[in-house]
Symmetry: C2
Subunit: 345 residues, 2 copies
DNA sequence: CTTTGTTGTGAATGCGCATTCACAATCTGA
DNA sequence: TCAGATTGTGAATGCGCATTCACAACAAAG
């Protein structure tokens, strides 16, 4: 018999192997495993038993070759690890669970063309769908091509012509709301620590702030807008810069573009003996988990990071299913806590 | 000619298609793409040109079928989204970049057998390596089987017999160090807010605390150990519980099993008018990004979450390469800031 | 001008699976 | 009882690629 000689390694556990052991053809095993057509109950049971015993697992690569699907969704991001994005990522992962799809993650970066390289890795793997998190530098045109090729969802940025593939949040409105809230509490001189002004989010939040001031007849004072970088540390620097000008512009409140910066801004104020909210009221943006435990608990805008991820996952799944999903507007709620007080005139 | 009729869809962009356009055989294209054997320079250039123009990307599934590799590493976790784990995850992703391997993430959970299901999804995909993050409930025996099957790295837990596959951190020692530091500063009545005591980390940190007390001739008072859950909120509850007993056991310091709980514990103290570190000194564990901006900045143990992830990635890559990597002990450093003061006797 | 290498190339094979097709066995109805 | 319908099964094919083998063309050596 042309069987393996003693020295041979044992054959890989393939479907054919199962078939051989069950005394049926490979196609029958396939039928059983895919629950499709009719197979005699006893044969079926027997096959399942063998599969179970040998702990056989079909090879997705082979399966994918035939079906043209990989059951995986690519996620391209740069910000993995930030408390904010990790929530979004979790949303995506949770949104995908149960669907059979698994996320494959690629990390972009500023260096050279790494965004493109990372994307290439994803596309080579023939991911069935793609989620892009803000930060890459692809042209709108390229994104259109991409969207034509496979189910694409963009998180955190609005691409002209791809609006129904984009999951964004109305940062402008929320920033407006936050600022208006301060004004409503009697504040008339309000500073702003912005995010990086090369990011859409940074710009929108600043614009919302400006608009609110103007709509309420307040002046926008450039010196009271200090650019931060959305990272922890920059709250300190920005706050100190602001404090230096307090003689000239006696602000009584700061709208800070995200909570990460708010945390350190708050420390900077403490160091300088400025009471919060007694001397200066603070309002943040994002409502990260810790914010409610700050001293005082931070009044802020709740950013639905997790829901965005979840929605992104549902959107790709929808796209994969051929449905064009309706993307609801995610709410940005003002969370009132204790860092803002009424300004005693 | 037996070509496509007008109505046919265009053929998929395969290597064969490239070969046809270049007027060579498919194997020649393969040779060029894999840079292996000798191919006439002009042919080579021509093929590369066509590949570039058509934006051809080899199909990893097919390639994987032949090579038996998927160039992907499975990561099984439950804690995606926690500030701590997201650092580890980032470390893994960064550690993998440039290697050609991409991480595939599966989410386990407590519910039913979801851990196993998630793992199955990973194994079906024939991941080349596997990283397990603490939390699943697999038997040591099963883990041994797994390790025999494919490169396995376990993060955050020590599996008997698989020590050189496990990346852990000496929580016990660090907890000991933290507690000893408090003692050194003159504190003799020290409370502890522990992590969940069904987790190795929770137990070890508590044990380190107890050991330090005993080694310094201090009594371990069960009432001064309150179990938390490592989550933000539980610091409040635990602290209040502790405060209730302050009459009886006038502790002057608390060792808190992680910074997340420390943040809210600090708020609880503030609410009750207990000064930090004036009345009660605080020492945390993990050194999460925000901790240095707490009021006062938190003295804590720096946990190398990011490095653990990085190391895990390097370890699988090493294993994939056939090397048995040397896993260095990751340092747990005491970061002295301002939340601990000398106890004035 | 043969012989032995060397280099460049194509044909053929198989990776593990889904699927189509053909066919045998059994069942239906008149 | 026999034509047709139904059900269960195996053989064959191909997904896109790497790889092996065979062989042509040509160069160097005798």
């Amino acid at each position: 018999m042309p069987n393996l000689k003693p020295g041979d390694k044992k054959p890989a556990l393939t479907m054919y192997e199962i078939a051989r052991l069950a005394g049926v053809s490979q196609s029958t095993v396939s039928r059983v495993l895919n629950g499709n057509k009719s197979v005699a109950p006893d044969i079926q049971a027997n096959i399942l038993k063998i599969v179970e015993e040998l702990n056989y697992r079909p090879n997705m690569a082979a399966r994918g070759l035939v079906s043209g699907k990989t059951l995986s969704v690519g996620i391209l991001t740069r910000y993995m690890g930030s408390p904010f994005f990790s929530q979004t990522l979790r949303g995506m992962a949770v949104g995908l669970t149960g669907s059979g799809y698994l996320p494959i993650i690629a990390l972009g970066s500023d260096l050279g063309s790494e965004d493109l390289d990372a994307l290439k890795l994803l596309l080579e793997r023939r991911v069935d769908g793609l989620i892009l998190q803000v930060g890459w530098r692809f042209s709108d045109e390229y994104l259109h091509e991409l969207a034509a090729e496979l189910p694409l969802v963009v998180v955190g940025q609005n691409i002209p012509g791809l609006e129904d593939h984009c999951i964004v949040v109305k940062s402008f409105d929320a920033a407006y709301k936050a600022t208006a809230y301060l004004i409503e509490k009697g504040h008339t001189c309000i500073a702003h620590i912005s995010g990086p002004l090369f990011l859409a989010d940074g710009i929108e939040r600043r614009n919302g702030y400006c608009q609110a001031l103007m709509d309420h007849g307040l002046e926008v004072i450039p010196e009271l807008i200090v650019e931060g970088d959305f990272m922890e540390g920059s709250g300190i620097v920005a706050t100190e810069k602001l404090l230096e000008q307090r003689q000239k512009y006696p602000f009584s409140a700061i709208f800070i573009a995200n909570d990460q910066m708010a945390v350190s801004a708050r420390l900077a104020l403490y160091r300088r003996g400025v009471a919060v909210p007694g001397d200066v009221s603070l309002i943040g943006f994002d409502d990260q988990p810790d914010s409610q435990y700050m001293i005082p608990p931070l009044t802020t805008i709740r950013h639905p990071a997790y829901q965005m991820g979840m929605l992104a996952a549902q959107a790709v799944l929808g796209l994969l299913d051929g449905k064009r999903l309706y993307l609801p507007d995610l709410p940005l709620e003002l969370i009132v806590r204790e860092s803002v007080t009424i300004r005693s005139q």
